[in-house]
């Protein structure tokens, strides 16, 4: 009987948070390097392998071309389940949740997919660079109407959200600062604004499919006058506004709290932050310090986070509710279904939609509320059924391998070893005594009904998928 060591449990926890969870063989291999080296390799991956674009594009023309509303999610799912660099995908999910940009106003998956790719390139780098790229991102520009933000006729939408939702949080700037920010970002628009905006508004695919968007700075539409922003004066342009934003402690705290929320434990929804103190103020202090000590470097903040006691503490294991994307990707990494491009990818990504997370179509500019808000009667049924169906399907190569291993060393023969082994194989490395005894009881009773070894293991995998612990990360 395999029982994960403490170090393995800790690595498993890390991989659930920094990645999409690991099965037993991968966990055993990581354990040989130890926790610290696993963190290092997550932060500085080398020789990254994943399903490559040429393969995806050959079979999924829609994931290559204009991309309807469901194809970017399917494309992203391929990356999440095949990459050897899961942290980059996790950070893209992190930023997508904060810089939430949605399909209905863009009506063009390619442009949204371009934004997600931008998160992959810059999401673990310097925060200033990321904000600058975000401000030039065509999907963001149209999402928050910056193409309607003109010299002499400002549209405040982007300026307001940049300060409120993307960096400092409410209460740390004035309405005048918003106006000045908007002025500074006049002229930051997309090329062929009129034609592209018209096509987006009409969802036009004519004549020859969609045309991707590109950033354009229009000098003649930029308000180059004197501005005052947070006590700084000058002929500020957008990049200088971002410089000032990045120097603010409120920015560091806001991003730190988001990181804690995403990687450590659920915080209340963002609108409540001004009124509710952080769950662990010291953790936020630590991350804030890391932000300033390392010149706004996200990777350095993550390094400190993953090595901190507040992250490693057993109190935080299985504490977060998995988002639908995490749940679906984690299961598909276990099942091994996508060894090559398959048509089923669209169905699998649609399952996350049924569970309440339509990637590239968040419910609002605030992104998804996380934690228990992922769970309602409808979505919980979808989560449980999907997990149970996939994990009990012996046609899935990964499931067949798990069953082979469990039967191979006889773990299926005793109730306690069957339960423990299936928990380990599915990356659930700690479980309440209550759950364990219910599973063992099920194992014992099911033996009276079922004598096929494969089915005995498959049904236990199904039951593990239904546990609280598996539904949480």
């Amino acid at each position: 009987m395999v029982t994960a060591t403490k170090d393995m449990q800790l690595i498993s926890h890390l991989m659930r948070r920094a990645g999409f969870g690991v099965g037993l063989p991968e966990l055993e291999s990581l354990a040989q390097n130890g926790y610290n080296e696993t963190v290092n390799r997550l932060l500085k991956p080398t020789n990254v392998q994943e399903m490559t674009d040429d393969l995806i594009r050959r079979y999924h023309h829609e994931q290559s071309g204009m991309m309807g509303q469901n194809n970017p999610g399917a494309y992203w799912l391929y990356k999440m389940i095949t990459t050897t660099d899961p942290l980059t995908e996790k950070m893209a999910l992190f930023w997508h949740g904060i810089f939430a940009t949605g399909y209905p106003k863009i009506t063009q998956g390619k442009v949204l997919n371009d934004q997600i790719r931008m998160f992959r390139r810059y999401g673990t780098g310097n925060f200033r660079t990321l904000l600058l790229e975000l401000s030039k991102d065509p999907a963001m520009i149209v999402w928050l109407d910056n193409h309607d933000n003109h010299d002499g006729a400002i549209n405040e939408n982007f300026g307001r959200e940049l300060l409120e939702l993307f960096s400092m949080g409410v209460g740390n700037y004035s309405e005048q600062d918003i106006k000045e920010t908007a002025r500074a970002f006049t002229g930051w628009t997309i090329g062929n604004t009129e034609y592209m905006a018209l096509r987006a508004e009409r969802d036009s695919i004519w004549p020859y499919g969609r045309i991707a968007w590109h950033f354009e700075f229009k000098e003649d539409d930029h308000d180059s006058g004197e501005k005052e922003f947070l006590g700084n004066t000058g002929r500020l342009n957008g990049d200088e506004i971002i410089d000032i934003i990045c120097q603010q402690e409120s920015t560091a705290r806001f991003i730190s709290r988001h990181m804690y929320h995403f990687f450590v434990a659920d915080e209340p929804p963002v609108p409540q932050w001004p009124y509710t103190p952080p769950r662990d103020p010291k953790a936020i202090d630590t991350l804030t310090q890391a932000y300033f000590d390392n010149d706004y470097d996200i990777r350095a903040m993550l390094d400190i986070l993953f090595n901190s006691e507040f992250f490693k503490s057993e109190d935080s294991w299985h504490e977060r509710v998995k988002s639908p994307a995490e749940l679906v990707a984690g299961i598909l990494r276990l099942t091994g279904e996508f060894d090559r491009p398959r048509r089923e990818i669209l169905d699998r990504s649609t399952q996350a939609i049924y569970m309440g997370q339509h990637l590239i179509n968040p419910p609002s500019v605030e992104g998804w509320h996380q934690g228990t808000e992922w769970i309602d009667t409808g979505t919980l049924v979808e989560r449980l059924n999907f997990a149970s169906q996939q994990m009990s399907n012996v046609e899935n190569p990964g499931v067949a391998e798990i069953i082979g291993r469990v039967i191979g060393d006889g773990s299926h023969q005793a109730d306690d070893s069957l339960v423990q082994r299936c928990l380990d194989e599915m990356g659930v490395t700690s479980v309440s005594e209550g759950t364990r005894s219910i599973l063992e009881n099920f194992a014992a009773q099911n033996r009276d009904l079922e004598n096929d070894a494969t089915q005995i293991v498959a049904q236990m995998l199904q039951m593990v998928a239904a546990t609280h612990e598996f539904q949480r990360a």
Binding site: Q69, G102, Y103, P104, K105, T107, A200, E201, R202, D203, S204, W206, D266, E319, V321, T350, I353, Y354, G356, P363, S364, V365, G371, T372, E373, I375, D376, T377, G378, T379, L380, V381, L384, N385, S388, Q389, S392, S432, G434, T435, I438, L439, N441, F442, Q445, N446, L449, E450, Q459, Q462, M463, A466, T467, H468, Q471, R472
Partner: protein
């Protein structure tokens, strides 16, 4: 669990993809119609005339029959200011009743919250189809989304019934405990609610019998499921389903005719069934689409437009036409489309207030006048 006797029920049928209103309710005496629709028109002889001016698409015979019985309100010229011709954005507007900003709460979700503020009945709202339409979403409002009533529930893929019962028992134990923390308690409660809702819903077909033989189309089967849940008297007040795609850019005449044949047959079967069960007077059906289509055809179909027609059907409905049929003269058009003359939230407000007896202001996002299609 059950609602007061004769509680009013609303059934929303979403016609996804942008129904061509002009070939649904046809101004068969209007010369502009035939001028602007040289290829994609319904000839005068074929329309099912409802008055001297307008007639239904020939594939809508069952709805024409309901019209003749006085049970159909046709709302012409329905829409909203600054029409958006994107499927996704426009559908969002209809779902949230919020044309100006991006919002995430649905109008029916808000209605369900008013009907059952404490979420006591986990199936006050039921969607037939996978995934929850935004119209039904509101925070902390439980709504069931059912792909297929016959096998709705947890772990329905477990073939061995005895093993499944064992698994469900283990599930109830895992989710029945007090839980180590508030999150665990919440998940457990939701799990038990889901189990309860699934048990109730799956049992519904067993209590149902009918002489009506529904057509074998997805929309007819979904409406049959709705009728089964209604018969079981489970307190469900809001039902939702959809049919499509009405996005007829080309090959419109045949595609559009097939779509309306399927919808009309299904609605005909459904209303027959409701009549048989004495429920037609307590049921109101709303059919809407996110937008209408361009007045001018493109040779083979029609492109995205604005303005449209909605239908309200039911035994208590005051049949007739509401709103004005938009003028097709070029000076009256809005960028080549029919100009809307009544805000869709007037219809929402009427349904919320007069039919469901709810405070309409919050549901329709504002105060609107109301139509008289229900008293």
């Amino acid at each position: 669990m059950t609602s007061p006797a004769n509680a009013k029920t609303v059934v929303v049928i979403q016609l996804s993809g942008g129904n061509d209103a002009l070939n649904t309710v046809i101004p068969y005496n209007n010369e502009h119609y035939y001028d602007l629709r040289p290829q994609v028109n319904i000839s005068q002889d074929n329309v099912l005339k409802i008055n001297d001016e307008l007639g239904f698409n020939p594939s809508m015979a069952p709805i024409k029959r309901l019209w003749d019985e006085g049970n159909v309100a046709v709302i012409n010229g329905i829409g909203y200011p600054s029409p958006n011709r994107s499927h996704f954005r426009s559908m969002d507007v209809w779902h949230t009743a919020e044309p100006d900003t991006i919002s995430n709460e649905g109008w029916l979700g808000r209605a369900i919250r008013q009907i059952d503020p404490d979420g006591e009945n986990v199936i006050t709202g039921v969607n037939f189809g996978r995934g929850l339409p935004r119209a039904l979403y509101a925070k902390d409002v439980p709504v069931a989304s059912v792909g297929n009533l016959e096998n709705y529930g947890l772990m329905t893929d477990m073939k061995n019934e005895a093993a499944r019962n064992l698994a469900l028992e283990a599930f109830s134990q895992m989710y029945g405990g007090s839980g180590k923390d508030t999150i665990a308690q919440f998940i457990s409660q939701t799990g038990l609610d889901a189990l309860k809702g699934a048990d109730i819903l799956r049992a519904a077909p067993r209590q149902y019998s009918s002489t009506v033989e529904y057509a074998h189309t997805p929309i007819a089967q979904n409406l049959k499921s709705i009728s089964q849940v209604m018969s079981a008297d489970l307190g469900t007040r809001v039902f939702y389903t959809q049919h499509g795609s009405f996005d007829t850019h080309s090959g419109e005449l045949s595609a559009h005719s097939k779509l309306w044949q399927d919808v009309s047959e299904a609605v005909g079967d459904f209303t027959d069934d409701l009549k048989e069960h004495g429920q037609l007077d307590d049921t109101l059906i709303l059919m809407f689409s996110e937008f209408g289509r361009r007045i001018k055809d493109n040779g083979a179909g029609t492109d995205h437009g604005s303005g449209g027609s909605a239908f309200v059907i039911g035994g208590a409905v005051n049949g007739g036409t509401y709103g004005e049929f938009p003028s097709l003269r070029s000076e009256d058009q809005i960028e080549g489309d029919m100009r809307f003359n009544n805000d869709f939230r007037i219809t929402y407000s009427t349904i919320a207030d007069r039919w469901l007896g709810l405070d309409p202001v919050h549901i329709a996002n504002g105060t609107f006048e109301q139509f008289d299609f229900v008293d």
